[in-house]
């Protein structure tokens, strides 16, 4: 079948289902069995989506007609899938075991991937054994990650999620993240930290990111001032550079032995599996980090090998396609019912919106369908007190992703286990009410309620149920979303691996910095910019 006929069939199905409420679909007792899918401990339940098993089959046909099978092979095989930058996107190679092979331009990248992991392991062992010494000879006990975007969100999210998997040796090390270019996070932190025992990790793929280098310069000066030593000595003992541009890092002053490298073919938002994950290894040890990679690798193999009609990333992607392109839903809420996943929504916002927030197709033409929706989210129980009102009674249709582990606190107090049960109960209850609305109630009781107490229901949701949250299952979860994003990009025929949209603003900022420093207003600026610059110039030097 051609793509066009697949789309036509889907539009037909959408039309015939448009008046069917989720409560009617859920009346089918076999629905859960038909529409929930499992791989290696991860359950994806799609039975609260507004489609039927037949529609899902049509969606699978669309994926086939869109060349997804070849697309997956191209991605994992190291083809230049990022055509605007002429490079591969090989985050899957970063978690390929040592005995695997991935060729890029005829060269196997796995040996260098493994070499970087080995170097990470050496540095982590030095840190964890208390033998990384600062300028005074004291052991480093604080690590500050300076990075932004992919060099910040991934490690931050994973470190927060996996805090309890800290091995004893890692407990002596305190970890901080600094990203904002205005120095507001850094200045507060520096006033509390001991320069003699603080190590900075500069994470920047290009090693030209102004946000990161501005913070790094401040940190370096802080250490030079505190130690009275030369910059070169400070850089040798207090800085690690993680980059794909070793020359730039060397130029900045990071000695080679303190450089951890990754490659042009690692996208920033796909980089937590690379040396960028160094802070994760600081927190959970290399064994834990390797578990994270193993979990992701398990999902990679599943993505590449499983039939689409039971392929978790593909099914999650197709569900999105249905909601966005056929049901016209353009908001996606990410709702983890586990406080450890607090940073997951922000992470997925970047992963999905920076990847698929595109409107030009691979062939250079404008897309004729909608692409990435607006994603946002929050820890579910907290969001219940914030924006769930809109989900239940607002005018917007929203698709929700519920994410929750089954077991938690298994070796801790019964009170904490009870608290997790409470979260789980809320998760299940919210998904039920969003789907059924008043149909969850006794019909008479529902009909008697005043209009402002009525629930429309019919909001579709997916449920991702993990057995428990571990480094391995987090690896699976993140890889699940990465491949979902890629699948959608293949169907929309867009490039998920570039981000040209963020470049112009950076360039303009450089110009603007000149204008601010010289208090000079370029008459080429628009009137709004001119007006603001003038006011800043007039009032800026008042104290």
């Amino acid at each position: 079948m051609s793509r066009d006929s697949c789309w036509r069939a889907l539009r037909q199905s959408a039309h015939s289902l448009q008046d069917t409420h989720l409560s009617e679909l859920l009346a089918d007792e076999s629905r859960f069995d038909t529409l929930s899918f499992e791989h290696d401990g991860v359950l994806l339940d799609l039975s609260r989506q507004r489609f039927t098993p037949d529609v899902l089959q049509q969606l699978v046909e669309l994926a086939q007609a869109s060349g997804l099978r070849d697309g997956i092979d191209a991605l994992i095989g190291g083809a230049r899938v990022n055509h605007t930058e002429q490079r591969a996107a090989l985050h899957t190679a970063l978690r390929t075991p040592a005995d695997g092979h991935v060729l890029v331009d005829g060269e196997d990248v796995i040996p260098e991937v493994q070499a970087t992991l080995d170097k990470m392991e050496t540095l982590i062992a030095t840190l964890h054994s208390g033998q990384w010494r600062g300028f005074s000879g004291e052991a480093i006990d604080t690590v500050v990650n300076i990075g932004v975007g992919g060099s910040d969100l991934g490690p931050l999210m994973a470190c927060h999620a996996l805090e309890e998997f800290q091995p004893d040796a890692a407990r002596s090390i305190e970890l901080h993240f600094v990203s904002s270019m205005d120095g507001s996070q850094l200045s507060g932190l520096l006033s509390r930290l001991n320069p003699a025992t603080t190590l900075f990790v500069l994470s920047s793929k290009s090693f030209t990111t102004i946000d990161t280098l501005a913070n790094a310069a401040t940190a370096c000066q802080w250490l030079v001032d505190a130690s009275g030593l030369e910059r070169e000595i400070i850089l040798r003992h207090h800085f690690i550079g993680i980059t794909a541009q070793p020359d730039k890092a060397s130029e900045w002053g990071i000695p080679t032995q303190n450089q951890l490298l990754f490659w042009e073919w690692t996208g920033g938002r796909y980089s937590l599996w690379s040396a960028i994950g160094f802070p994760i290894a600081v927190q959970i040890g290399m064994a834990g980090f390797r578990q994270l990679l193993a979990g992701a690798h398990s999902m990679d193999r599943h993505f590449q090998q499983a039939e689409f009609d039971r392929n978790l990333p593909v099914l999650l992607a197709l569900t999105g396609i249905w909601n966005i392109n056929l049901l016209d839903i353009h908001a996606n809420a990410i709702l983890p019912y586990d406080g450890r996943l607090a940073h997951l929504p922000a992470y997925l916002e970047q992963l999905e919106m920076e990847s698929n927030g595109k409107s030009v197709r691979l062939d250079g033409n404008r897309v004729d369908t909608r692409t990435c929706p607006v994603l946002w989210g929050e820890i579910g129980p907290n969001a219940q007190h914030a924006f769930y009102q809109l989900l239940h009674q607002g005018t917007e249709a929203v698709m929700c992703d519920f994410i929750v582990p089954i077991r938690r606190y298994t070796d801790q107090s019964p009170h904490l286990q009870e608290q997790h049960r409470l979260a789980l109960a809320n998760c299940l209850a919210q998904a039920r009410v969003l789907a059924l609305g008043d149909h969850a109630l006794d019909p008479q009781q529902a009909a008697a309620a005043p209009p402002w107490k009525r629930y429309r229901g019919n909001q579709p949701s997916s449920m991702i149920l993990l057995d428990e949250l571990t480094p391995y299952s987090l690896g699976q979860l993140i890889a699940l979303y990465e491949h979902k994003v890629y699948t959608q990009a293949v169907i929309w025929q867009i490039n998920p691996f570039d981000q040209w949209g963020v470049e112009l603003g950076k360039k303009m900022a450089t110009e603007m910095l000149g204008a601010l420093e010289q208090n000079a207003c370029d008459h080429d600026f628009d009137c709004a910019t001119r007006g603001l610059l003038e006011r800043i110039a007039a009032r800026g030097d008042r104290t």
Binding site: S129, Q131, S136, E138, L229
Partner: protein, 420 residues
């Protein structure tokens, strides 16, 4: 009286020697008839007196006499050996012997003596008293023979009479016996040990400060000790205290304080002590501008204190680890503890074990003195200077004279002596 003496602590050996002198029959249980540890062997007067007791037949080992046939048991086991103490006491109880007195001098923590008493059979007149070990190395024989005061944890009149009679030869000069409960006596011992640790922690903190304000801590310490309220004891700055027993004992007290009172006082002392153990490394690191790769570093003294062959919790362990991690080669010497150290570290390309102190300094870029063995106090400086590649001395125990070393052309770092 027939007395069985258990354990290898100093207090036990002193009790053997002193009690045997006054006609008691001593059975030294669970060990050889003379101490192994050199610091105990070095105790003035001890070995001679033990030999006399052995020669006269008043002291025999457990092969010649059944230790459970004794009327009195003297327990001087190490802290942390509560299990073996319990076993001994259980066997005493099981013997069914009447009117047995157990004198415990073991630092097993508050409540341990009550727990041991509970295993005895009071109906048979089996009682345990706790007599805190207050002996100081170097003066122990005299202190045992002529105590000014004895603290006695005892809750039974018959036991009090028994122990008083046993100690009468030593208390005739009007020794005051302070009677208290076993638990109070244990706590008093605990409190004294904690106080000593605080003094050491305090003087070491002051030493750090002295480096910053440009005074010699040794001069300051000398001045401090002229105040009778302060006195001279436990005020020697150095690169940290070690020794399994002392540290373990303080840890017990620190844990108790922090769990029940939320007090970090002693925990802080312990943390600072760990930090202090690496002080010689830090001085060296700074001297060589944070680069020790391929440097050759001599270490004199591995034992946690002079007179012992053990390296448990010794500063040498942390310093050698740090030097190895930085890629330095370490040349080691210790008159007694080398064997134990070698058992832990084995043979490594970066470690050179030396039989003579001067072998260790050959070609060295620095000498770190970590244990104040008498052998190291007055070296041949000319030879030292000639052998070393760089004449840098880090004196972790402040045994050398800074001015002299300076005049001889050495770069000298002590603890709290930056003023030189």
């Amino acid at each position: 009286m027939k007395i069985s003496i258990w354990g290898e602590e100093l207090a036990g050996w002193i009790a053997c020697a002193q009690l045997a002198t006054f006609g008691n029959e001593i059975i030294k249980a669970g060990s050889a008839l003379t101490p192994m540890q050199s610091s105990i062997r070095a105790e003035p007067g001890l070995l001679d007196r033990l030999q006399q007791a052995i020669d006269s037949g008043r002291m025999v080992d457990a092969d010649l006499a059944d230790p459970y046939s004794a009327d009195v048991h003297w327990l001087a086991v190490a802290p942390g050996e509560l299990d073996s103490a319990s076993e001994i006491v259980a066997r005493i109880a099981a013997s069914g012997r009447r009117n047995v007195l157990v004198v415990s001098q073991s630092n097993l923590g508050t409540g341990a003596s009550d727990a041991l008493q509970a295993r005895l059979d009071t109906a048979l007149g089996q009682h345990l008293v706790y007599l805190p070990d207050m002996l100081q190395g170097g003066q122990a024989m005299r202190q045992f023979a002529h105590p000014d005061v004895l603290l006695l944890g005892c809750e039974d009149e018959a036991a009090r009479v028994g122990v008083t009679a046993l100690l009468r030869p030593f208390t005739r000069e009007g020794t005051e016996i302070r009677l208290m409960s076993r638990r109070e006596a244990e706590f008093t011992k605990f409190a004294i040990t904690g106080m000593l640790a605080l003094r050491l922690g305090y003087i070491n903190e002051l030493a750090m400060l002295a480096d910053h304000v440009g005074v010699d801590i040794e001069t300051v310490r000398d001045g401090m000790s002229t105040d009778p309220r302060v006195g001279p004891h436990y005020l020697s700055p150095g690169c940290g205290f070690g020794g399994h027993h002392f540290t373990q004992y303080i840890e017990g007290l620190a844990g108790l304080l922090s769990q029940t009172r939320g007090s970090r006082l002693l925990e802080t002392v312990l943390e600072q002590n760990e930090h202090h153990k690496e002080l010689p490394f830090r001085k060296l690191w700074q001297h060589y501008h944070c680069e020790l790769r391929d440097k050759r570093i001599a270490i004199w003294g591995l034992a946690f204190k002079p007179g012992v062959a053990t390296v448990e919790s010794a500063p040498s362990l942390r310093i050698v680890d740090a030097l190895l991690a930085q890629g330095a080669t370490v040349q080691l010497h210790d008159p007694e503890a080398q064997q134990e150290f070698r058992a832990i570290y084995g043979e490594q390309p970066q470690l050179v074990y030396c039989d003579a102190p001067y072998d260790a300094v050959d070609g060295a870029d620095a000498l770190l003195l970590l244990t104040a063995w008498p052998d190291y106090w007055s070296p041949n400086y000319t030879e030292l200077h000639r052998l070393m590649r760089e004449p840098v001395i880090v004196d972790g125990r402040n045994v050398y004279d800074p001015q002299l070393l300076h005049d001889l052309g050495f770069t000298y770092y002590g603890v709290g002596r930056n003023s030189h």
